[in-house]
């Protein structure tokens, strides 16, 4: 394997398509065909592979773009119209599936309980995860962790006072506190190298199922729309609140399987960092935003619950495959 650190900043390749919509969209970006038509858009499964990949590709234009795709496509009005047509059913599915509370403190309170006999991906990996399962987990998580904290920066100009100061402080810590080698996305790239994975940005997009893409699409959706700033803050609070105990279990899994020092360090760092971030996000960012804009309470709750909902769907896919000894990936890594 080539060392990751030497690799230059590169735009990822356009991925293989997963259906009618993503195929047309990718052809359009190559300059070889029209955008997907209204009939195809109307009939799509909002949580299926085709729509989730198409949405992921639309959003990626705002992050690193794709090799050979004109950077001006980011603000192409026709493409943005298609993106909106993909976002509407996704957002509707999230609201219908996830919404249970209308107050942020009620939604967050549920996350502050840590049952001794919990189950979930981190419990599975801690207790009996094998190295191949840790590699599958890291490959699919890479579509998220290599963007870690990035879409959350889009909310900064939309916040004020305590919420803004708290958010900026946590983001600074996520980005290594001014030290490139400590940027959390870099720590994850180092974990991938320990696990024998290729840490190139976008490398495992094709291996990642619709459930893993939905986790990333959710934060891009919330990050790119000012209207959804409450949901973005709720999402961030949910991630930071659940991360610390889950990371402790994953650090244990990495240690038990001898995955390597960088693999263990990524999660050990998150145990300590996210115990701090949770406090700052709840006490400063969530409370600060509610002070400024109390009408966003239900949106913050929605962001918390939507995050849990997409994470649970991903967990179901992973555990269902692993419990029957099968791979959870779309393509081998």
């Amino acid at each position: 394997m080539e060392p990751a650190a030497k690799r230059p900043y590169a735009e990822p390749e356009l991925p293989p398509s997963r259906g009618e919509i993503s195929a047309a969209l990718i052809e359009y970006l190559r300059g070889t065909g029209p955008l997907p038509g209204d009939a195809a858009l109307a009939g799509a499964d909002p949580l299926g592979d085709d729509l989730q990949l198409a949405l992921y590709v639309c959003y990626e234009l705002h992050y690193r773009g794709f090799a050979g795709v004109d950077g001006a496509r980011e603000w192409d009005p026709e493409l943005l119209r298609v993106r909106a047509a993909l976002e509407r059913p996704f957002l509707a599915a999230l609201r219908a599936g996830a919404t249970r509370h209308s107050r942020a403190d009620e939604a967050l309170d549920e996350l502050l309980v840590e049952p001794a006999d919990g189950e979930g991906v981190s419990h599975f990996l801690q207790d009996k995860g094998e190295l191949w399962q840790l590699r599958e987990y890291a490959a699919q998580r890479s579509v998220y962790h290599l963007k870690e904290a990035d879409p959350h920066a889009w909310v900064l100009p939309r916040l004020w006072g305590r919420a803004k100061a708290g958010m900026a402080a946590v983001e600074f810590d996520e980005w290594g506190g001014g030290r490139a080698e400590r940027v959390h996305a870099q720590l994850f790239a180092d974990l991938m190298t320990d696990l024998g994975l290729d840490p190139s940005y976008g490398r495992y997009l094709d291996a990642s199922g619709a459930e893993a893409l939905a986790v990333v699409n959710l934060m891009s959706l919330f990050g790119l729309h000012r209207e959804l700033r409450g949901a973005l803050v709720g999402h961030f609070a949910a991630v930071e609140t659940t991360s610390s105990p889950g990371s402790r279990r994953l650090a244990k899994a990495m240690r038990r399987t001898g995955a390597g020092p960088a693999a263990e360090h990524f999660y050990a760092e998150h145990v300590e960092a996210d115990a701090v971030h949770e406090q700052v996000v709840r006490r400063e960012v969530v409370a600060g935003l509610l002070e400024e804009e109390p009408h966003l309470d239900a949106d913050i709750a929605f962001g918390v619950e939507a995050t849990g909902w997409v994470e649970d769907r991903l967990a179901d896919r992973l555990l269902e495959a692993w419990r029957s000894g099968r791979s959870s990936l779309r393509a081998a890594v």
Binding site: E110, P245, V271, A273, A275, V276, Q279, R283
Partner: protein, 74 residues
């Protein structure tokens, strides 16, 4: 530095539930004489004594089962 630490006292946020939040960087002397340090902008110090990474909080103070809400956080 525009805000020299000498200009104002260090702020510590104390809640009955959860860790104590101290503005970083910090150096902490433990009972065996060893010193641990952190240059994070803020550190969460364990006050429940259950942390497995003491003196840092690792969220071990959390309830094991849902309880009646003790009241709003703020």
């Amino acid at each position: 530095m525009p805000n020299s630490p000498a200009e104002r006292p260090r702020r510590i946020v104390a809640h009955r539930e959860g860790p104590m939040l101290v503005e970083g960087p910090v150096e902490i002397v433990l009972e065996d004489g060893t010193t641990v340090s952190s240059d994070r902008f803020c550190v969460a110090l364990c006050t429940c004594r259950r942390s497995r990474v003491f003196p840092w909080c690792d969220t071990s103070h959390r309830r094991r089962s849902p309880a009646a809400r003790p009241g709003a956080d703020h």
